[in-house]
Symmetry: D2
Subunit: 377 residues, 4 copies
């Protein structure tokens, strides 16, 4: 099978090239790049010398030649390629935000400042977070060529951390969930800028776009979807959950760590008295119970690892892998569930998840091409 | 004036040496070290070659020779030195937790696993967060030799970020405040260990001691103190505030960035409707109002900088300085105040604040010895 | 085939586990660890959770069960395991220095302070730098169980950079070659120590063991071997070459970059006049000629990449791969060849090269298990 | 005294602002910036908030108002400002290469591709490496307004490491000296580019501009100057020395470490026999002798620290200080002197040295404004 990659010279595109070049079902890679058209991918990325070799084509050429097309472009320019793919009967996996909001064009355009160009394409698109949407992806794939709206990096780690809490009735109805995340600098892309200039971000830690990051509505939409599926867990009803999301820039290349604060439902709460004391036995036991439920929830997921109690999620343990690590904690009073999730922002947060989606669409082993074991350092 | 430093070869001790060596009122430094006794400070820290030179003495010798004694020791061993100082009429500034909890021995011993050895010393001690306790420090100093319980690094950045919100009635009564912090690795001290071994923490980000860090009760106690002083701001009364605190380790040497989530009091709240939209004008204006109140609150503080709107707190901007930078934000719904604070964990979070306390005790210019301008990189 | 790994919880051992777990010919991994015996490898290295799972056995158990045995131990303790393997007819691949010096016990013991315990084992051992010794490895393997003395990390990058210069008669007879190398911190191993404590090596660069590093005699011995094979290139004879080697510690996890200064043989020299001027056309052309000869020399090597002119070796491009990248340069006067080589110290410099050796010994595809494409960041 | 800074918003300019703001003789700072004219320095560099405050003027305004003018501009644009300063009787300290080559316009233009615009200005200019040129600087200053050509960052560390070897007759006549240096990323300036984009240089080490860096002729010229002054040390004459210089980029913000290989003069050489053995007593003793001579040579220099034997130069020990640290070593054969020098590229390598030059020109204490003690981490 021939895989096409539009936007192959950006960071997510280069990860797609690397991972697809090692995918057992992919026989050829055809990359496109507007900036470097006419050059070869191994000239732009000399790390590929002797390992991957391909000329950088025009996007149209890629669409024409490939069986499946990936696009790793800025938000707002994927629709034309999606349309061409649909017309030519090819599956299209988009890493931008263009297809993440389904038919909710109002939310998309409020945050991204653009309308949908071809709104009708959303009849063929699905949000590609496999752990939430695997069944829908498969169904849609059965009906013809489809478009995957591959999730944003932050929403992936955040949503996977929150999903069991809602599905299992652990989160309080109507709660405000706080997602506090730190990302490596590759999240900012390959284009040089002051913010990502080495001396400006080395040995430094700071939040950015506080209260205003575009991944907020994507997380929020995912909470709404989870809530709709959670009626069994909330017999008395589940009032809308809201999310506050703060991203930070950490001085490292890869990884997103999200620390997620989820107020516990009445049935799960413990009210340990003030002044604060180290976690009482009841708190530790409650944490273990919830941990077990999280572990059972994700038992059959190939890429979600609920870590053993005592082991805390860290970006270093998922580096270059498609895993999402989750650790489960309670605050000392037993009223707040604290979930830490770690992903590689460029793999599970971008290129790896896109390939996982491709595997689902084509009925390949979901792990195909994504079997890299994370290194210890 | 002669300054003694017990524990001078740990990281906080070495910072005391560096800063006191440049202090205009300090004529001599006498350091002590149990591990390196008999060596010279510039042998243990060759960065001091040609700049600071002193033999490492026994702690008793330091107490005998110095006019003011600093101790940068593990928690649990300062009391004997404090007692000796009181008996010899010398001021004692302690960087451990031994004197941070005043007469609340129960909380101290619950978290640190040790009783007070000389509980009566707390009659001469005060918690040394100058922005909260300047008046009390001065009063106590007027009455004879005193003991300063220098604050923990995380509680410093957290408390300074929360203080105006409570004092000005901005925080909701009874709220749970979430403090999500990231620290550089010097916070773990100089003793080698797996956790702080370079390959284990480089290019990695992770939380630690979730729901169980010892700085939680210190922040909580500070909230209670602030609340007691805030009656004017809460005519209808202020129910107890609680805190959830999660520290993270970031791959950098210095700095603590705290992102603090403070639910807004009724009077300050805006309820922007779901689904989330980018911050409306009303939200931006409300943020500006609160920013102005924060700026006015700290107007006369020499080391607190409330940054202009649009400028976000970052650890890189306070490196090697005693500043605490604060930026003021709202979430997109206008219901949560989000405060970011940045300090250098080894300066405002340890040695610098200790010197600030000394300056207050002796009536020196509070900035003396702490005028370093943070470098741009 | 079952692979045994003694010393599996050190950094090189953990890399062996990771790489062998993905090797197509290895059906099972049996790791041993003295420090963590009784635990499981995925408990010691949680990055292996869900990907590799194995109990940590005693070394004897590993020797008994495995078909091929790797040892990643401190120098001085491998001989007993090598002996056991020879007696049980199993191949033994040793990552320490115990078998790197063949029958030159004098040099070994002068630098490592230990005699050989079983000198006779050297009749079954070979130095495992495949690009120099592939034929010898194969021959020895044909004759029964063998011992591989896997090269040191620095000598690997240094020797591969120098080899063509000697083989092709480019280096001046009798020259002193300077090897100036920088290594990532994983080279110091997993045991915590002050030198590799994060705050001591972050944001810092320094040489160590100047004029006294144990890899010097290994590089020197390799030069002697290369010289013996180079008689055709030096019809007038080749006087002994000597080496000066300086290692540096760089603030990064992986990688070794060696900058190698090789005085040019008379026939290759250009004498561009002082004062120094930017490289003249003649210098650039000479560099291109030598580049072509280097590229041709390594044309069929699976893991050596002679980079195109204009592209300079960098550790980032070989991260997690078994490649050795080489770039070819001349100084501005045209008298000194400057070779830069980059390897991942833990892969081509340790575990990867050990597996490459295993592949040669067993007649597997030399690339088996080592096909990872280096990531772009 | 009023200090003007043209190019105040580049990295070297910002360091000038920071250091001059703390200089006891400077009463006011007037900065200029073409890129940010009309803004304030504390807006461009928020680290200056509350510490330094100044409007960014036009360069002409700065020349008119200041008593002494610093320029931190790209090479090729300083001459006009130098001319204006000379006409207005003001001293001009230039951090570019425009005045580093005295009347050797041929060398300057060969490497920088530009002719001198006002060659006659060199009658009023001097190369500002104080340890080599202090007397000449003072003499020239006595005769009216002068121009300082502040040295390049690499040539500073390289020249200070080599100077005693030539002056004391330790270096072999006619030798080729190799300077292998690693720099932090601030050396690349503030302008964003691919090379200095965080993900491209983090966790990576590589050489650049091999055999072709513009600092080569500057080092070479300094060697010639040292040689002319060293006739007493070489009674038999000193043939011209040449230099090969290779810079590397290290993943850190500040610092340059140079490892310098200097072939020993006949009288100093020891010929320890091959194969290489650990350094013999004779080698260690010879190293100590040379160390003593180095230490004595720099005994009265305020900013050069010849480290005690056993202590190796490291960039971390000079961070934010004007020190140049030097450690003295021999290779194991006793034929090559290996000198390691460490400077902060932005202080002794740029802004600090410029201020040191100002102090000399005006007869201030040479340490004024440069007393910062390097921090331990």
């Amino acid at each position: 099978m021939i895989a096409g990659i539009i936007g192959a010279t950006g960071y997510a595109g280069a990860e797609l090239v690397r991972l697809l070049a090692g995918h057992p079902e992919i026989t050829k890679i055809v990359p496109a790049s507007v900036s470097f058209q006419g050059e070869r991918i191994e000239e732009v990325y000399p790390n590929f010398q002797g390992a991957v070799s391909a000329a950088l084509l025009k996007p149209e050429e890629v669409v024409a030649e490939a069986d499946v097309v990936f696009a790793a472009l800025p938000t707002g320019v994927s629709e034309a390629f999606a349309k061409a793919c649909m017309e030519q009967g090819k599956n299209f996996i988009d890493l931008s935000a263009d297809f993440r909001f389904d038919d909710d064009e109002a939310t998309f355009s409020a945050w991204y400042g653009k309308p949908y160009i071809y709104p009708e394409l959303r009849q063929r698109s699905v949000y590609g977070l496999p752990e939430l949407k695997r069944a829908q992806i498969r169904e849609l794939a059965d009906r013809g060529p489809l478009i995957i709206g591959n999730p944003g990096c932050y929403p992936t780690g955040a949503s996977l951390g929150i999903y069991p809490a809602i599905s299992l009735g652990i989160a309080a109805s109507g709660a405000t969930i706080i997602v506090d995340s730190a990302s490596g600098v590759t999240g900012g892309g390959r284009e040089p800028s002051r913010s990502f200039h080495y001396p400006e971000c080395a040995d430094s830690f700071a939040p950015y776009k506080v209260g205003a990051h575009r991944h907020t509505p994507e997380i929020s939409r995912n909470l709404a979807f989870m809530s709709r599926c959670a009626s069994a867990a909330y017999p008395a009803g589940l009032s809308a959950l809201s999310v506050i999301f703060t991203p930070h820039l950490a001085p490292m290349n890869r990884g997103i760590l999200s620390t997620i604060y989820i107020p516990l439902a009445e049935a799960c709460r413990l009210e340990q008295s003030a002044p604060p004391r180290p976690p009482a036995k009841a708190v530790t036991e409650r944490a273990e119970e919830i941990h077990k439920r999280y572990a059972a929830f994700y038992e059959h997921e190939p890429f979600v690892r609920v870590l053993p109690q005592g082991c805390i999620a860290s970006t270093s343990r998922v580096r270059q892998s498609n895993f999402c690590d989750i650790s489960v904690h309670l605050d000392q009073t037993g009223t707040m569930l604290i979930i830490a999730t770690a992903i590689d922002n460029m793999v599970k947060g971008a290129a790896g998840q896109a390939i996982q989606n491709m595997n689902i669409v084509y009925g390949f082993d979901e792990r195909a091409g994504l079997t890299a074991i994370p290194a210890s350092f």
